[in-house]
Every structure is written in C-alpha cells, then in structure tokens.
C-alpha cells in the first residue's frame, strides 16, 4: 500500500477573537490506529476539516501521502472521512445516498451494495435517512467513507451515539483496517475509548499540541509520578534511608510514607537494609482520566 502518512505542520485557524487551532504539528503513521484526543472545543474538528479542505487554514499545511487533499485527483480512493452523523439528505434512502456518491466518484454502483454489507446496514438500505438512528447514520457515514477502498480513514468522534455493541463493532472494524496497513485517525474526547482502540495518540488542548506518541509511552509519561505507599513503625529512619538513595519522600499520615521516583521493590530492599519493619507496601496507579483532565485543563477550555 502506498504511503498514507498524514503530516500536519504549523496548522493554524484564527476566527475573529478566537484562535481555534494554534501552530499545530503532528504526524500520523500508516498501519496503526491513532487517537486524536482532547476535550470538547480543543480544535479537533477544525483540524480534521482543515486537513480535508473543508475549512481554510489561516496558516500551515496538512498533507496525506505528501499531497494536500485539494490536490488529490481521486480523493475517494485515498481518504475516507466520517465527519458528522448527518451528512446525507433526509429525504434520500441510504442506498441512493451511496449510489450518488458512487456516480460522483466514478465507482460501479455495486460498491454501494458491498459497503452496505460491510457495515451491516443492508436491512435499512431502502429507508429514508431521516428515519435512521444515530448509530445507523454513523454506519452509513462509514459505508460512504469505504466506497473508494481508501488507504486513509479519518473519523470525527465516531463513537458518539453508538451503543456499547456498536462501539465494540467500530473498534474491531477500525483495528482491522489498520492491520491491513491503512492509516486510521480517530478523534475523541474520551481517554478510556482511546486506550482501548488506539496505538498512537495525539493529545491537543486549546488548539495546541499537548503530547504525541505511542499510547503506552504517553500514558507512562503522564503517569510519571507513581506513588508508593509504605507503612512502617519507624518512618523517620526509613525516610532518611530512602532519601539517601534519591527517592522523594513525603509524610502520608501516622506511620505512613508516600514515596516516588523509585519502585516498590527498591523501597522494600532499602527497608531491609536499614533494619526497619514494613507493615504495608503498595503502589498507587494514578487515575489516567484525572491526569488527562489535569493535563488538558491547564489550557483553558472555555475561550
């Protein structure tokens, strides 16, 4: 499959009195699902729309496989995008919506049937769009994005309005596409969703990049201050011993210390060497959702 790398470089969108996206740069690699994460109003949708030539950037560029979207001769065969659940005419049936897309793209009408089958929308194909549930609208959006068998998929908050079963279906579907070597970029404001779906993550807040990288690494770096709780009858001696090896120690209540920048094993070994009894030893995993909220709320969300 050709190079389907997405490169966003210095992208900026200024509205009167508001900078929605501010000098944003990141890369999205093929063959993996990349989560585009940030609170509502962080500029995710504006960024995706600039990438797709729907919103004109104030500055900066965005390319897919080295080319701007507007320069793609057959965009349907390169990029499939699902941007909003209501992008079909209310009075048209799902099948006719897909057929109109096929005609525009120069694809055989049989592709409409194939993608209807793929997303499991065949039973509702001849129903008008206005009668669709949100989940059916999302499936129709994915169906139309898949018409041209594109190597890049871009989805804006696809989980919105889906029931748990729909979310699981979507997750498996997108991960399957990535496994085939396609580029999959999915925006969301929910960290938990991205933990389950994505391998890479791009975190934005207030129109700026916060973190980018593999989910595991970014989470580890976010969770850098893992705390170890240790209970001991002699906190003074243990604290001195731990400080001596470079750990950060804080009092955590009577007979308890909160230790960071080390591991539970090192704390245990240090206590043994110092001849101090340990009554309790545990590692606190910080709540990632909390860390994410702290990280992104540092940039004001209401602008």
């Amino acid at each position: 499959m050709d190079d389907g790398r997405i490169v966003v470089s210095g992208l900026t969108k200024q509205y009167p009195g508001l900078i929605a996206v501010n000098d944003l740069s990141f890369t999205v690699e093929p063959g993996r699902v990349t989560g585009f994460l940030g609170p509502n109003g962080a500029g995710k949708t504006t960024t995706l729309r600039m990438l797709l030539n729907l919103v004109m950037p104030t500055a900066g560029t965005a390319t897919v496989g080295g080319r701007r979207y507007v320069d793609l001769e057959q965009p349907d065969r390169v990029v499939g995008a699902v941007l909003e659940a209501s992008s079909a005419h209310k009075g048209r049936t799902g099948r006719n919506h897909l057929r109109a897309c096929c005609i525009t793209a120069g694809l055989p009408l049989s592709r409409a049937e194939e993608v209807l089958e793929t997303v499991g929308l065949m039973p509702a194909a001849d129903r008008k769009f206005k009668g669709y549930s949100l989940g059916m609208k999302q499936r129709l959006g994915i169906a139309s994005a898949m018409l041209g068998d594109p190597r890049v998929l871009i989805l804006d908050e696809p989980a919105n309005g889906l029931d748990p079963e729909g979310i699981r279906w979507m997750r498996e579907f997108l991960q399957g596409l990535a496994a085939e070597g396609r580029t999959v970029l999915v925006s969301s404001h929910l960290l938990s969703e991205m933990q389950a779906l994505a391998e890479d993550v791009v975190i934005v807040a207030a129109g700026r990049l916060v973190r980018q990288g593999a989910v595991a690494e970014v989470l580890a770096s976010m969770a850098g201050d893992t705390q170890i709780q240790v209970g001991t009858p002699d906190p003074e001696t243990l604290a001195a011993a731990l400080r001596a090896i470079g750990a950060v120690v804080q009092p955590g209540g009577p007979g308890t210390l909160l230790v960071s920048r080390t591991s539970a094993a090192v704390v245990g070994d240090t206590a043994l060497a110092a001849g101090v009894a340990v009554h309790h030893l545990s590692t606190d995993q910080p709540d990632l959702e909390d860390v994410f909220l702290t990280l992104t709320s540092e940039k004001a969300t209401i602008r």
């Binding site: 729907l54 004109m56 979207y69 507007v70 209501s86 005419h89 209310k90 057929r99 109109a100 120069g106």
Partner: protein, 298 residues
Amino acid sequence: MSQSTRLIHAELFKLRTTSMGWLFAVATVISTVVMFVINAVSANSLLKPFDQFVALETHGHGHGGRVSAEFLARLQSEWQLGHSAITQATTLYTSGQLIGVLLACLLGIVLITGEYHHQTATTTFLQTPRRTRVVAGKLGTAIIVAAASWLVSTVLSVVAGAIFLHHLGYGTELGHWGVLRAILLNLAAYAIWAVFGVGFGALVRSQLGATVAATVLYLVGASAASSVFDLVHTYWINKDWVLTLQVIVPEVASAVMISPTKTFDQSPAEWVGAAVLIAYGIVAGLVGTSILRRRDIA
C-alpha cells in the same frame, strides 16, 4: 466518463432521488397550463374584430356609449398591438415562460443552497474538493434541467396553442421566423435564468433568503423598475435613453429578449436583452463561485 459528466450525472441522480425533482416537474406543468389558459382567454378576445373585443372587455356594457373615450382609446391601442395571429401564437407558445424561468432560477438556487440546507455540503466537497468543479457541475445540471423544463412546457403550449388557433380559424404560424425565434430565445432565457440562480445561490447561502429574495425581485422587479425609471424620466432627465435603460433590470432584459414585438416604446433590440441577462448570469456565477471557494464548511 469525464469528471464533469460524472458530476452532472450525479446531480441529476440526486434530483431524481428526492421530492425536489418531481415537485419541479409538477410546478412546470401546472404553471404552463395556468398561464396557457390565461393567454388563451386574452388571445380569444384580441383576435376578435374590434367591436366584439370591446364588448368582451367591457362585459357587454360597451353598448350605448357608456365607455369613456379614454378607455376606448386604450382598448384600441391594446387591440392594435395584439390583433395578430403571429403575436398571439408567440404568446401562447411561450406561455410557460413567465413562471418557468422563475422556476429555473429557483432550481439553480436550490442546487447550491440545498447543500447547506440539507447539510450535504460536507459529503459533496469531500468527494470533489475542487469547488469550482462542483459549481460547474451544478451549472451544467441547472441548464440541462431548465432545458428539459422548457421542452415540456413548449411541447404542451405548442400542441394546445396550435389546436386553439386552428379552432379560431388561424394557421399554426410556426412557419413564421419571428415565432420560432421567440420559442428558441425562450430556451436561452430558461438556461440563463438557471445559471443566474446558481450564482445567486452561491452568493446568498440561506435557502429561504435566496429563494424568497429571487421570487420577490422577479415578480415586482419589472414594475418597480418601470416606476423608478418613469420618475427619473419625468422629473430629472427627460431623455428616451433613460427609459431604454430599464433593460438593465434582469426581468426587463428577459422580456426584451424573447418578445417579438417591442416590450415598451423605447425598448432596445432583443440582443441587448440577451446580452444583459448573460452578463448577470456570468457575474453572479463568478462572484458566487469565488465566495464559495473560500467559504468554510463547518
């Protein structure tokens, strides 16, 4: 299939798969029938000898000198202008025009504004990111549908009109170049109004705003313009060219273009009307497209 052919094909398919398509067809047929009946009633009077015409127009009150001399003079002038099988044939054969070109204009508008109104613009511009191509496709579609509407309306009017004229003892007058030219120029009017509609729709994005504005301008534009130009002529510049200048109003230009006789005393030649209308179509199309190219779709 080339891209532009595909885009037009897709637009026609989109029209067929919503209620828009048949609503337009029904409106075309109904407006043609209604206007034909009105024109036939008027032709029936005008083609009568003058005394019968007066009797019809005054509902029988004309006998016994109860009609003022002034009114009689006006009837005389009206009868002289209209008492010709050629003039009446032209009017009858182009019956659909008055409402038809407005429908063509509205269709052009809705082809563009409907994308925003029905929130399909995202899909459309994702599939065809070069927006001038989208507008070009819609222009082609508007012209094709307007031409089809002209064809339906013309076939209905010519068949009914020929039967009607035959019934009154006249020929079809279709051998007369002036009549044929009016029918063909009528096609041009449909097409140009459709193009104007697409440009206007790109200019005024709101579906309701654009359609209402276009309809009001179309319906009152000509008479409003006539009043304004009459005032200027009477109180300011008492020259004939001031009245001739009315042709810069699109509705007037349209009437001047297709009318085989003078629309008003100072009206310029048909080609002037055509040129003005084409200029409006081009300007609206260009301005609308340049705005639409830079507009954010959110």
